[in-house]
């Protein structure tokens, strides 16, 4: 897919990838051999009929292609941009074995953008409204799919979002240059079209309890994600300008600190920035720091390039833009100046040992230390599940890592309460969370059909 040049793109927050034009899309679609077993679909957590939409592109029937995509993903302009297709659909593409898989993600994005440019909407079918009311907690990827699936079946759906904008990680986490917020807003407008009510500024567990919601709704889906940052637990980690990736990205993305002072939320623009971690969040943070004017951005990772969990594409993008990688190091502390501002990261040099439970070689301290001078540090080592609902609703069983325990369809230990996405798996991807939303929606649909006979008593406030 065409991209803007690194020199140009690091000066702003505009999107990096440019997308296919019609000709490129048709050409790429024509490579698809339309294999009857369609292994690609099995690689898609929301089961988009991939060969069918690609066939339509080849025939230049872009609108039809869009309809097919939209049946599977309610937010194709988003999934086409942020799905790790190389680990999903494209991994299973028959052509992958022969060399280059079909660029399914790029094609999905193409049809979504094509439809958007032309104002093509999927006609909303006349749906028979049902009387059952369903509440969704969290408006991120899992919540979006769950809500749209049930709204399409006629349920009365309300989504509760704690922040001031809907979209969850799509608005606070993933930066503008990878996923423009205008696109997120446009895609979420579809939820409104379906009659879904989105209530902002409500923290379930604080503003209203799960028990209260159960009096008003027939079923509840918890999709609160894994938004609680993991701390390093080393001396000095609360020095000034040591950010968690969530704080850094929330300031930049949700609060638009890159437009300060037009927007009121500030961010410290570092000259020498260290990002700790090797995942997609680390890449997002490093690239955002560059765009805020950093001269040097270092990604510090305790294993090597081969073990980095980030998408290859994102690592390449970061590297092209000038992000430097230092492998086999682990922070053991931070030093600061008299004002409490961070000045140094102290690092332990690591070596790779035997594989650990994740299957990757375990990093082992060598005893040798080093340090680098920095003025901003971003901790991107990972997240814990959001603790608010587990803390305030002990009846919902969680495991020792704070994840909500569910059966294979998303049912929790509490009747009429379901959960999915990162609150269940820990740290997954956007599309995996969406897959959970779909599974749980189906389970709710089935369970309510059975329970209808038992007639759950709820009342609308």
């Amino acid at each position: 897919m065409p991209k803007r040049s690194p020199e140009e793109r690091i000066r702003d927050f505009n999107e990096v990838a440019l997308g296919y034009d019609e000709q490129m899309a048709v050409k790429e679609a024509s490579r698809c051999i339309q294999c009857p077993e369609a292994p690609c679909i099995k690689g898609c957590p929301v089961g988009i009929n991939i060969p069918k939409f690609i066939k339509f592109i080849r025939e230049r029937k872009f609108e039809e292609a869009y309809r097919v995509v939209k049946e599977g993903s309610p937010i194709p302009a988003i999934t086409g941009r942020v799905c790790p297709q190389e680990k999903q659909c494209e991994k299973y593409c028959t052509l992958a074995k022969l060399g280059q898989p079909i660029a399914i993600g790029a094609l999905e994005r193409f049809v979504a953008d094509w439809a958007k440019e032309r104002g093509v909407h999927v006609d909303l079918q006349q749906i028979d409204k049902r009387s059952e009311r369903v509440a969704v907690i969290g408006s991120g990827p899992a919540g979006i799919v769950f809500a749209t699936d049930l709204a399409k079946l006629g349920y009365d759906v309300t989504v509760f979002e704690a922040l001031h904008e809907a979209g969850g990680v799509l608005v606070y986490g993933i930066p503008e240059f990878r996923l423009p917020k205008k696109i997120v807003r446009e895609e979420l407008a579809y939820m409104k079209d379906l009659g879904i009510d989105i209530e902002l500024g409500i923290v379930v567990g604080k503003t209203v309890s799960i028990h209260e919601l159960l009096e008003e709704y027939h079923a509840i889906f918890i999709a609160t994600g894994a938004g609680h940052p993991r701390m390093l637990g080393v001396p000095g980690e609360n020095l000034n300008y040591i950010y968690t990736a969530n704080e850094f990205l929330t300031r930049v993305n949700l609060m638009k600190a890159y437009l300060f002072p037009e927007y009121d939320t500030p961010i410290h623009r570092g000259r020498r920035v260290a990002v700790i971690g090797g995942g997609n969040t680390a890449m997002d943070a490093a690239r955002a720091a560059l765009r805020l004017g950093a001269e040097e951005v270092y990604v510090l990772y305790r294993r090597t390039r081969e073990e980095m969990p980030a998408r290859r594409e994102e690592i390449d993008n970061a590297e092209e833009e000038g992000v430097k990688f230092i492998f086999l190091v682990q922070p053991i502390g931070f030093k600061g100046d008299s004002q409490g501002n961070v000045s140094d990261v102290l690092l332990m040099k690591m070596a790779l040992g035997e594989p650990d439970e994740s299957g990757r070689p375990r990093p082992i301290p060598t005893g040798e230390t080093t340090d680098i001078q920095v003025d901003v540090v971003i901790n991107a080592i990972g997240f814990h599940p959001n603790p608010v609902i587990p803390m305030t609703t002990p009846e919902i069983r969680t495991d020792n890592r704070g994840r909500i325990v569910v059966d294979s369809d998303g049912r929790t230990s509490m009747r009429r309460v379901y959960a999915g996405g990162d609150i269940v798996v820990g740290e997954g991807t956007v599309i995996e969370a969406m897959g959970w939303g779909r599974k749980a929606a189906l389970a709710v649909h089935k369970d309510l059909a059975i329970e209808k006979k038992l007639s759950i008593a709820v009342h609308k406030r």
Binding site: G201, T207, N238, T265
Partner: protein
């Protein structure tokens, strides 16, 4: 929703605002706070709940106009709506029957101390309030505090009202004179709380401080509000905002509160210039 019902100027740059948010008023408890954005470009700022009425659906906030966002909030007129409010956040104050409780409130922290003093008094504690400000003009909520306290001691830095000195000096005097409270509860500027904490510790009195770090999300997602308590990193928003005062790393908190001084001043200057140019055009 989020409509401003009333607005009062309590002191220069200190405003009291009642906002219609029934969903928060319904469940609010002493010691909790809300996050407010006056408009879509504003910062998310934490404000302690000063009062609320679950039947009428309003919450009361008091704030000092100190940065762009608080100035914007102060410009909201009765009938206008705030862009966003979420809450109630944080853990409520543990209001037990301790016996004698000293409440220390400093500056704009005095209104935040009001619901706490009220709650402690309601359950039968003997409440001694120490409230202080730089000067008498800035001393707010004195009458309210008197309504909910058994004793009130007023201090001003310049001696323009009450005792000349800091709230911490008054606290030291009371403890020195032999008063043995069962609990000291404090809210106010971090340096004030640091001093009061040291005094409480010296006299071996349990002290709880309501912390006011910089926050962004207010619900445990970002960690902007992290503080070191008893050597451990805690998120003030969802693990606090109250902690044992003698376990708090006050110096770290004070440094963290000053992190954005430069940016805040820059933004405020720009905002004032913009306001001035609008005024000129008129």
């Amino acid at each position: 929703m989020n409509k401003v019902l009333s607005k009062k100027v309590l002191a220069p740059n200190v405003k009291e605002m009642d906002v219609y948010v029934p969903r928060i008023a319904r469940v609010a408890k002493p010691g909790q706070f809300v996050i407010v954005m006056p408009d879509e470009k504003g910062e998310r700022i934490p404000l302690t709940l000063v009062d609320w009425n679950s039947f009428e659906g309003w919450i009361r906030l008091v704030f000092l106009e100190i940065g762009v966002t608080t100035y914007k909030l102060g410009l909201k007129e009765v009938g206008e709506s705030l862009y966003y409010i979420v809450g109630p956040l944080g853990n409520p104050t543990y209001v037990g029957k301790f016996g004698t409780v000293i409440i220390v409130g400093g500056g704009v922290g005095i209104p935040a101390a009001y619901p706490i003093a009220r709650a402690f008094k309601e359950v039968g504690n003997y409440v001694i309030s120490i409230i202080g400000a730089r000067t008498s003009k800035l001393l707010i909520y004195e009458d309210r505090i008197r309504e909910v306290s058994n004793e009130v001691h007023v201090t001003t830095d310049d001696g323009s009202k009450g005792f000349k000195g800091f709230t911490s000096d008054m606290l030291a005097n009371l403890l020195e004179s032999g008063l043995k409270p069962d609990l000291i509860w404090m809210v106010g500027p971090a340096p004030m709380m640091k001093s009061c904490s040291a005094i409480a510790k010296k006299y071996g009195v349990k002290a709880v401080a309501s912390l006011n770090p910089i926050m962004v999300c207010g619900m445990g997602m970002c960690g902007a509000c992290r503080v070191t308590v008893a050597g451990r990193t805690r998120f003030a928003c969802f693990e606090g905002p109250e902690f044992d005062a003698d376990k708090v790393d006050w110096d770290e908190l004070i440094k963290r509160l000053n992190m954005y001084r430069k940016e805040e001043q820059e933004a405020l200057n720009r905002f004032r210039d913009a306001l001035a140019s609008i005024a000129m055009q008129r």
